[in-house]
């Protein structure tokens, strides 16, 4: 027996200690890849970014800009803007964008590199327009620094002025990088690999940024140069050029489809928007909202809104049947597919940018033509999405308030831009901050001294995780307050 057992012990000892070599194999993750090709990042980047736009648009953007009002838990209407998730979500989206950029850079894949730059600008622009100064040049270097240097754990905040200069340059570069003869763009759920559409989007976005900082930097030369060379700088024009995400079947439904009907019913049409659209008999109104249920029951459907900022005592379920609910194009019921798209930038916005730029003398051209083209582009877009045959009829375009009047050009452009920018992130808010248009009466009951806020607070965590840079940013920009003006504001 001993003869058997002692070798056995030796064997066990060797077996338990000797198979160290296998450990590396045992601890190699069999489930997930360490290396991927750039196209695999595309869906997450585009979907993640645009979902944020849609979700924030419904819960905050639409209410702040008085398209809608809250019948319950009126935090936005009261202007108690807490620390929003926009910051964290934005940088998380940017993490993947940065990985796409790095992979494209290593692989010399210019088209993907350009897309990464464009998506960087989409995300950084919407954040700086909400917060002002933020980490840009040193951001996204938690793993490796720029050009393979050491990681940056405490990025400095860049001024909005510098961020804008950087973003505009990135869009310029992206336009140069994109080329039809280069690698195929795969998994592109936004433009289906169409290089020309990406170019049009990049240049149109550049126009948006140029105009947005126009209170501080005259955009005239850059805009003029771009318009003079449409072969190099193509712009969005056709209805198929719209940068809007067409959603899929579940689980890639329009994000609002994830909400319960009870939650959606408490965000109804605002009186300000209802009044404007009712006066114009705007054909987009029946797409954007439903007639009130009380009026339907009574047999004479009307579209009605509630004044933003009802006092607590007036907020009750009794308002639901008297106010228009959001249109069936955007929401039918939870998990039910709808045709609505995730809007990043529409042709109509570009046309209004050009119209305003003509009015302000940045470029030459016919403001009226651009203005009417903006309205038409908006109608065409909603026609194409909803399938309802609406259009900018001569009657619509000719009616008082809509008919172009050079003496009221800015106000008219502001109003039509506001309508066209319904449910587009916070874009209408940014335009209002820049131009003061449309003229809005602050929410009736609010906790901000009857001022519509102009920015968000930085997330409170930043005061812990990047304290010194935060302190410097507040010193440079002004108090971390919802009323502190952004650099590009007048």
């Amino acid at each position: 027996m001993k003869k058997i057992f002692f070798p056995l012990i030796v064997l066990i000892t060797v077996a338990t200690t000797g198979c160290d070599k296998n450990f590396q194999a045992i601890n190699t993750n069999p489930n997930n890849p360490e290396v991927v090709s750039p196209n695999l990042l595309m869906v997450n980047i585009i979907r993640g970014t645009i979902n944020d736009l849609v979700n924030d648009g419904f819960s905050s953007g639409n209410v702040l800009m008085q398209y809608c009002t809250q019948l319950r838990d009126p935090g936005i209407d009261r202007y108690s803007l807490g620390s929003t998730s926009t910051w964290d979500n934005g940088y998380a989206d940017l993490r993947n964008v940065q990985v796409l950029y790095n992979l494209a850079d290593q692989g010399k894949l210019d088209n993907y590199k350009a897309i990464a730059k464009i998506m960087r600008v989409v995300l950084f622009a919407r954040m700086t327009d909400c917060y002002g100064d933020l980490p840009y040049s040193e951001a996204l270097q938690g793993k490796t620094g720029a050009d393979g240097g050491s990681p940056v754990y405490l990025p400095k905040f860049d001024s909005q002025q510098d961020i804008y200069a950087g973003m505009i340059q990135e869009l310029k570069d992206a336009n140069g990088l994109l080329g039809a003869g280069k690698e195929l763009i795969q998994s592109d759920i936004l433009f289906n690999g169409d290089v020309m559409k990406w170019k049009r989007f990049a240049n149109s976005l550049r126009m948006r940024l140029l105009l947005r900082r126009s209170n501080k930097v005259n955009p005239s030369a850059e805009m003029t140069a771009m318009l003079a060379d449409p072969a190099t700088y193509p712009l969005m024009d056709a209805v198929t050029d719209n940068a809007a995400l067409k959603y899929d079947i579940a689980p890639n439904l329009y994000p609002l489809s994830g909400s319960r009907s009870g939650d959606v019913q408490y965000v109804c049409l605002s009186k300000a928007f209802a009044d404007t659209l009712n006066v114009f008999q705007d054909p987009r109104l029946p797409l954007f909202f439903q007639p009130t249920s009380a009026s339907v029951t009574a047999g004479s459907p009307i579209y009605a809104g509630v004044l933003n900022g009802q006092p607590d005592a007036s907020l009750s379920g009794a308002l639901i049947p008297l106010s228009s609910q959001i249109g069936l194009m955007f929401y039918k019921d939870i998990q039910v597919p709808v045709p609505a798209q995730g809007v990043v930038m529409l042709v109509s916005e570009l046309k209004f940018i050009l119209a305003e730029s003509v009015v302000k003398g940045y470029i030459t051209g016919d403001a009226k033509t651009y203005y009417e083209a903006g309205i038409k582009a908006s109608m065409d877009y909603y026609k194409s999405v909803s399938g309802v045959n609406i259009s900018a009829t001569p009657a619509y375009l000719g009616q008082p308030g809509v008919a172009y009047d050079a003496s009221k050009a800015m106000s008219q452009i502001g109003t039509q831009r506001w309508i066209a920018m319904f449910y587009n992130d916070w874009q209408a808010w940014h335009e209002w901050k820049r131009t003061g248009l449309p003229v809005l009466t602050p929410s009736k009951t609010n906790f901000n001294g009857d001022k519509i806020p102009v920015r968000f607070l930085y997330p409170s965590d930043v005061q812990v995780t990047d304290r010194d840079n935060y302190t410097n940013a507040v010193k440079a920009q002004g108090p971390d307050d919802i009323n502190t003006k952004l650099w590009w504001m007048n």
């Binding site: 997930n32 360490e34 869906v43 996204l140 579940a250 319960r260 249920s293 607590d312 379920g317 998990q335």
Partner: protein, 1030 residues
Amino acid sequence: MRPKFRILIRVLTLTISLGFLPFLSQAQEALVKGRVIDAGTQKAIQGVNILVQNTNNGVSTDADGNFTIQSTKGTILVVSSVGYKPLLVIVKGNFLNITLNASSREMEDVVVTALGIKKEKRAVGYSVQEVKGEAMTQARETNLVNALAGKVAGVNIVNGSNSLGGSSRIVIRGETSLAGTNQPLFVVDGIPINNNVSTSRSVDYGNAAGEINPDDIETISVLKGPTAAALYGSRAGNGVVLITTKKGKSGQGIGVSVNSTASLEVVDIMQKYQNAYGAGTGGAYHIGDGGRSWGPPLDGRDMQVPVNTEYPPTVGETVKWVPYPNNVKEFYQNGHTLTNNVAVAGGNDKGNFRLSYTNLDQTGLVPNTKQKRDNIALNAGYKMTDKLTVNTAVEYIETNSPNRTVIGYGNQSPVYTWIWEGRQVRTDKMRDYWFKGYEGTKPFTYNYKFNDNPYFGAYENLNGLKKNRWVGNVSLNYQFTPELSLMLRTGMDQSNERHDTRRSVGTNSFQQGMYSLEQLTYQERNSDFLLTYAKELNSDWNFKISAGGNQMRQDQGSLSTTAGQLNIPGLYNLGNSAIPLVSSQVDSKYAINSLYGYGQVAYKNAIFLDLTSRNDWSSSLPKAHNSFFYPSVSLSGVFTDFLHLPSNSPLSYGKVRASWAQVGNDTRPYSLRNVFGYGTAWSSYQTVSEPSTIANANLLPEKLNTYELGTELRFFKNRVGIDFTYYNTTSKNQIINLAIDPTTGYSSHSVNAGEIQSHGYEVMLNISPIRTKSFLWDITVNWAANRAYVKALADGLDTYSLPSTELSVQARVGGRMGDMYGSTYMRDPSGNIVYLNGVPRNDPTLKNLGNYNPDWTAGISNSFNYKGVIASFLLDWHYGGSFYPYMYTRGNQAGQLVESLEGRKPGQDGIVGKGVKLDAGGKYVPNDVKVNAETYWGGYFNGESGTFKGTWLKLREVKVGYAIPKKWLKRFPFKDISALLVGRNLALWTKIPQVDPDASAMSGDRVVPGAENMSLPSSRSFGFNLNFKF
């Protein structure tokens, strides 16, 4: 058949054949006789146990000290008796004259310690506490872990959800790990078993150790500190729960025992509802208004409410607007649990076996929740030759639970749905839960725009569990010489678990229905050997050394496939998906190799020095750091053995002990390298994303250092006993995900950092106030206090967030583990609450609102035995700490609970909150703004107002029983008959409003102590237990 199954079946076949072999073959051995006498008096000793070493073959001496045992030459007999030093004797001739030396002490308890070594309690140099199996089969809990509540000092049990089959968390001596689960290692007959908590889609499928059948348990030893656990390796850093299963006893023939328990759980709704106002907001109600009871007064007015004959409800049914005070209670039902165990055990001098079958059949408080569990356990041992013994223990567990309830805060949970149903809701109207004409597609409920009908949820949206599990081991013992022996053992815990999640078409959040199938596999194999050399040098000195090794291989897998929409309503099959299936797969492998040594030197069986050392090699750590060594030492002495105390001395026994130990710890598999995570595909486009945590390829093992001092004293002939322990543990190099600024693109970085220092006291007190022939009264008190402090985190980091629900559980440097942070009221310099527009303002800075750990815990048990009638009760007392009942906050914001009546009682038209406001000049003036109750209570709650002192006292267990005296049974085939009435959780005393603090919130698979989150109602249980043997 899969290869692993084949191997398992082979092992089982071998096991079973080995187990039954002895009863088929004939004994080859001769009878050995002998006599045992006292060395001092030279008189015969009766009742001496003679046991063939490493077997269960044993006899005892008769009145003349004589015995006869089946044995062969060279065999070692273990001779032991109360009051004598045990002796090993080698069988040489046919008659043995054995002389025993009296020990200067009373009978000692034997406890099971690390590596399954049975030790007299006096020889143990650290705190270990034992619970007998019967304590758990009488007052039965369906989760084994819950049965330990209040019974062991320093052990804290928290229920995850109160749900049928739900999990429980056990923390021994407080928490020492930031990122770990702080759960102990469960070991059955020497083999570690799985205690993973299984959750999926907010359904708590239980912790795996909870399934072990208490009927098959002889004892549970709780090894509290790392000292006790030093030999079990890194996974035992939080203590070890050592389970020893029952074995057949030799020499007693074949015995059958039957143990049956029937119990009734009576639902105990803790919530006190208001019944003055119905659903709605702003004092008005409109069909489709959801949830909140801020509507019109329930004064009998006419109101249109939804009805199940009209879809969608627009006109509704006109009803009288009146309250239904018991509408929530009516929904729940009483639970029933029936447990039956039959065990057959027997043995002879060559072998033993025990075969046990248990059936559990349980229905829960939520309608249509149930589970059945079958446990089959076989224990067998056989002495193959004089020197070779084989033992095996196998348990098969099959759990079948067609439906369990969803827990927590979400609209699939019945508790959530009820907190958002108004007080005017009629429960009976919801039982018929389809809209007429829409059967199978549209369920009716009052709050249909937000939630589901709770009956519809219970009967249509099922969360099923099916699980098969094998836990078993085979061991060989070879006795080379009386001194030298070798044990070889291999054991396995293997399970297949399947979760079927069904969501009917028409479910609020799954309008098109959903079906998800999740399959989990788990396999852990442990193979070990232990070579032991024990020698008595002379009558004073004994020593024992062991060396062993263990190879652990763990293999886990999960495969989940979801049909996100269904084509045909009511058909739950992946083939019936209306959209492409979404699948995810995670496999993981993990291995640890270990070598260890253990040595004990004993002097006069009174002073003991133990040394252990262990080296682990873990696959989860980088190659350069994957080997880690840790030692332990303990010293103890029974000082009363040297004092020669007079017989009338009040002190009858005294022992002091001290120990020091270190335990290393590794990390989860695959933590070293960054990989991409899969995202949800878009049509045919697959997608991945970069994870937010930066992995670290240079992680080091965690280190835990602990020392422990203790004493055990007994007085008045052992009528009073006290055991006192102080311990101090420092854990360093913790592997945590250190939060970094999100603008870096990442949220955290995996690092070694942190130091947690934990210390505590444990007192166990036993008193026998009355000990007469006909009446016995015993009191046992377990008391423990623990404080764990965060000494350091990483450079530049002073806060680390732990899994939490509403309050944020944060480890802050200088703070304690378990500190909870939340928002507080903003206050003026004099401390008054500051109001804005009549609503209290919150200070956004998170403040410490208390600690979820109790200041101390105590279990107080009293047992009485009067002429065979036994009675006992157990009180479980948690003193101090803080508790956040989310039900209270949410239920009052919703206007449902009784507190929310303030401000809308008759004669009240709102509330002017007590405090100050800022006037136009920026000065604080008394608040005079009156707001309605809905606005006030909507803004009133925050961390500060929602947190309460966590003290509670619970009457955990009451038992009354009677065992029929054996003399009465002589004419019957029975050996024992006893019957017992048992009540559990009968009474609760606490100031925590609206909930039972026994139930906690869950965050993923973590139980979050100190917070409640829409817990199910608690229940009292009344049981009848019948036990007979024949």
